[in-house]
């Protein structure tokens, strides 16, 4: 059976673990630890991913989508490069309520630059319901400024909604395998 590897990355608190828990058809392999260091500006967040999250989803054509979530803090960047090897696509989740979400996006596009030059990716913006500024233009502008393809999708995403997440997965697969 063919398997595709999808990597979900982004800063701590953006919803990577939530996304995988929302859609995985198998029990999620999770490596959460209590946060003795700061994790994010979300006051309710007491745990942090320290190695990876892993879930699976079977696509309609029978292929298995292996969904791998990376840790969010920069001190785990060594883990991100290990996890991203062989990925067919990457989703960068950005917390819209973060202090500087554009800087977060630029950090992660820079971190994965080598992979992203040859692999499709898209940006999922979470927590958009928690701020008055709902525009996503700043992300598109930042991507354009850094020389990324103008067609990189930037979408709003509720990390708890399986329907929205699966739509995002389909969008990424459509980029990967364009309909003839």
């Amino acid at each position: 059976m063919e398997a595709l590897k999808l990597v979900i990355t982004g800063p701590s608190g953006a919803g990577k673990t939530s996304v995988i828990q929302a859609v995985s058809a198998v029990p999620v392999v999770s490596t959460e630890a209590s946060a003795f260091r700061e994790t994010s500006h979300h006051l309710e967040k007491l745990t942090t991913t320290i190695a990876l999250d892993y879930g699976e989803l079977t696509l309609q054509d029978g292929r298995v989508l292996m969904i791998i979530g990376t840790p969010g803090q920069s001190r785990y960047d060594f883990m991100c490069s290990i996890l991203a090897r062989g990925a067919m696509g990457l989703i960068i989740l950005i917390d819209h309520t973060s202090v500087d979400p554009v800087a977060d996006l630029r950090y992660f596009t820079s971190l994965y630059r080598e992979l992203l030059e040859t692999t499709p990716f898209m940006v999922g913006v979470t927590h958009t319901d928690q701020t008055l500024n709902e525009s996503l233009d700043m992300y598109l502008e930042a991507l354009a400024l850094d020389g990324w393809d103008a067609e990189v999708p930037v979408v709003r995403l509720d990390a708890r909604s399986p329907k929205e997440i699966i739509e995002v997965f389909h969008c990424l697969l459509a980029i990967l395998e364009p309909t003839p």
Binding site: R37, A51, R75
Partner: protein
């Protein structure tokens, strides 16, 4: 920003037990106890271990646990890395609800078995001491009640009067 805190009494215990471990090993080595998310609780020689290493140790221990669970081994007690020049042992120290990680690195003169034995005894000693001391609550500053404040004032006045006499 929410940050959990390692109890001071546990930090003291860890320091004591690392000192004891240091005395037992006679070859060059490095040792560190850290939280699962990579915060150093105590290390030896102080400040020599890079900040990245406890982070990686926490990650490796977490991966070890995930792999052990996948293989129905329940939990991962230790991870060993055997290198050309030195060996490393990562051992879980299950004293808090979430284990700490003890990392010991020693050159090849120290056998892996001896290193594991010493590290395990250190981990057990930390847990044993914490079991006894950890249940005692940390001393908290007592807030003075209004009645206690009046009594203290009266006692002070009485002692001043007796001195004057």
């Amino acid at each position: 920003m929410l940050k959990r805190k390692i109890p001071d009494s546990l930090v003291r215990i860890v320091h004591e037990e690392l000192d004891a471990l240091v005395k037992r090993l006679d070859t060059p080595f490095e040792v560190c106890v850290s939280t699962r998310d990579g915060m150093t609780v105590a290390d030896y020689p102080p400040g020599k271990i890079s900040l990245r290493l406890p982070v990686m140790a926490g990650t490796l221990q977490a991966l070890g646990n995930s792999i052990a669970t996948e293989c129905s081994l329940t939990s991962c007690h230790n991870v060993m890395l055997e290198g050309a020049n030195s060996n490393m042992i990562l051992l879980s120290v299950p004293c808090l609800q979430e284990s700490l990680v003890l990392m010991v690195i020693a050159d090849r003169q120290t056998s892996l078995g001896m290193l594991l034995c010493f590290a395990r005894e250190c981990s057990e000693a930390i847990c044993e001491k914490w079991k006894v001391l950890g249940e005692a609550p940390e001393p908290q500053p007592v807030e003075e009640t209004p009645l206690a404040r009046i009594l203290r004032g009266l006692q002070g006045r009485a002692s001043r009067t007796s001195l004057a006499e």
